[in-house]
Symmetry: C2
Subunit: 377 residues, 2 copies
């Protein structure tokens, strides 16, 4: 049957804690007899000694050939002049939609119960155009680009997703009262697509109002679709509602059916954020100290995040987000039996509460937590 | 003493529920013997029959002359081609900083306790430049403008505010990992100003991460300063933490010491949002019905909001945000005695819980709630 045909999938373990959590995924997949063979490539912010490269052509070709892959965190240094590897992958592989399901984990208490949201983010343009320049000294501008083609494409994906997953409503998030032309075009495209899906309810919500409503009552929303930057902001807000980026899966969809699942606690600022948030007390104190003693320059922040990841987070990382992302990859491959089995094992381990990593208030190492998931398979 | 010298202040009651809640403020100010004479002008989305205008030169001159004013809500129709009146006032009066204190109201329970945040938003440029155009068919762009002058000015205001109010920390919110030049310049300016205030801690937080941290643990922040759009988003998110825009004051600071306090539940989309959020059940049902039956076009939304405000919210509106904004105006005038007296009366009325408007889950009319505040003076 489908469940036993071996499939080749690309694996980019990534930076920092990436290799550790990718290793957890591999262990769990092996234990669950998932018929996947990993084709592993290094992509990251250090030059790979074997290839002398951050990102090789072979790595990109691997995803293009396999059409399915899993990606660990990659740091995005601020203000270094070179483009983020996350963005480079999105661009090179034309990963036009970023899908982040965000649901409350049974047994893991936050201020919100029964969160069940899907954010779908346009992933290729908008404020991420990379077009910026200085007009005169002291005056800089950046361009936000919205195209009909990319807006229709992501709207189409959102409605298709909603229908395929039995969802009721799609909300388009925008600021068209201010950016009438750019966000206006985005909305126009969403409306066009909405007409083809009369069974799905459609509404438009201004981004500031959306954020207020989300923190007051997330149950008001279902599937949210939006331009790039709003998606970046709102998907993190949603992750916060259920406990943070360490718990939320993410999958990038590209032209021609490519799916690249990824853990989104990726960049150094994100890791720094997680540390800073006191998800682990020892690290928090150290981080606070570092942040102030080095007067907080970008370089120091990035450096500090590396040191902390390398020295302190060793075997303390939570592989949940990457593992749940890997589950979305299995669903993309229609391996629903395997996907359910692994997802349940993860959720049950967290619900049971005996083995939890430091970020969830526990004391388990990555190794122990992974073993517990395997025991729950 | 200062507290009895009569001061002239401009009053723009605004649209929809504006006149009702402005009336509450006037009543409370009268009862508390606040030495203010109101100079009232109509500014709003309907043409004033007396002046045949939305916004007269005299209205602007009134604020310029008095240097202090209070402004009710004004609707911003989406996609109408004409500029929002809120934005016009910001631009004409050069209101460069928007300050929104956001604190938990004793006795009014939300998911968050002890919230105490100040958002300071650059109010004149960024994504609000109004510069947009179609490049070719199906490709539109909008310009985000960041200037050294405006960034320094708002950063200076934020640090000054932090120092004057005994605050510990200023966080600059940005997305400089993507918009390296624009947000990069904003951060550079914040850093320059931070150096002049060694007693105030300074940090930089990426906006997506900031939103996640805010919903997980708002106590991590103190004063937040940011470019225009991020301020719009984050101030609404913060308002959501403590119960919504109906409870949060706002004050706009302009060159030459102008202060224009305003309720920010202003535009039609915002009002629509509040209604939609189920803050009042009868309205919610009607609104839901209207929203779907008219297939949700912008015109219909705006129209529906008007009808609902006019017919249904009559005497149901919550004057708290406008009244607390008026209090910030009193503080700007250094009338701290009066400010304390009125603020305490508002907070005590809400804490007591006997008189609450529908949006706070009560059944009081605006009139009853206002009377209760006067009784608590
Ligand atoms: C690291 C950063 C460039 C990235 C983004 O802004 O898209 C991240 O926040 C994300 O959401 O994947
Ligand atoms: C109504 C709208 C134009 C306005 C804004 O975007 O600034 C509002 O949301 C606000 O925050 O005052």
């Amino acid at each position: 049957s489908v469940d036993t045909t071996p499939i080749t999938a690309t694996l980019f373990p990534g930076d920092g804690i990436g290799p550790e959590i990718a290793d957890s995924v591999k262990q769990v997949f092996r234990a669950a007899d998932v018929p996947i063979e990993w084709e592993e490539h290094y992509v990251g912010t250090e030059v790979d000694p074997r290839t002398q490269s951050f990102l090789t052509w072979e790595s990109l070709e691997s995803v293009r050939r396999n059409r399915v892959g899993l990606k660990g965190p990659m740091a995005t240094p601020i203000g270094k002049g070179h483009r983020s590897l996350n963005l480079t992958l999105r661009k090179e592989l034309n990963l036009y939609a970023n899908v982040r399901p965000c649901y409350s984990l049974p047994g893991y208490k936050t201020r919100y119960d029964n969160v069940d949201l899907i954010t779908i983010r346009e992933n290729t343009e908008g404020e991420y155009s990379g077009l910026e320049h200085q007009v005169v000294r002291g005056v800089v501008e950046s361009l936000k680009i919205i195209t009909r083609q990319a807006s229709l494409r992501v709207a189409e994906y959102a409605f298709h997703y909603a229908k395929a997953h039995g969802r009721e409503r799609v909300s388009a998030i925008h600021k068209a009262n201010i950016m009438q032309k750019t966000d206006g075009l985005f909305l126009k495209c969403c409306r066009e697509v909405a007409e083809k899906y009369p069974e799905i309810k459609y509404e438009e919500v201004v981004i500031d109002n959306c954020c207020m409503m989300l923190v007051k009552n997330p149950a008001l929303f279902d599937v949210l679709v939006m331009p790039n930057l709003y998606g970046d902001i709102i998907s993190d807000l949603c992750a916060g509602l259920i406990g943070g980026l360490g718990l939320t899966p993410s999958c990038n969809i590209g032209e021609g059916g490519i799916a690249l699942a990824e853990a989104v606690h990726g960049s150094a600022p994100d890791i720094a954020g997680k540390v800073y948030m006191g998800e682990h007390d020892r690290v928090k104190d150290l981080w606070r100290h570092l942040i102030w003693s080095v007067t907080c320059s970008d370089e120091a922040q990035v450096l500090a995040a590396y040191i902390l990841c390398g020295l302190i987070l060793q075997n303390l990382a939570n592989p949940t987000a990457l593992m749940l992302s890997a589950v979305t990859m299995l669903r993309h491959l229609e391996l629903h039996g395997k996907a359910d089995r692994i997802q349940n094992a993860i959720l049950n381990t967290i619900a049971e509460g005996k083995y939890r990593t430091a970020d969830l208030g526990g004391t388990s190492t990555t190794t122990d937590f992974t073993k517990a998931i395997i025991d729950h398979l």
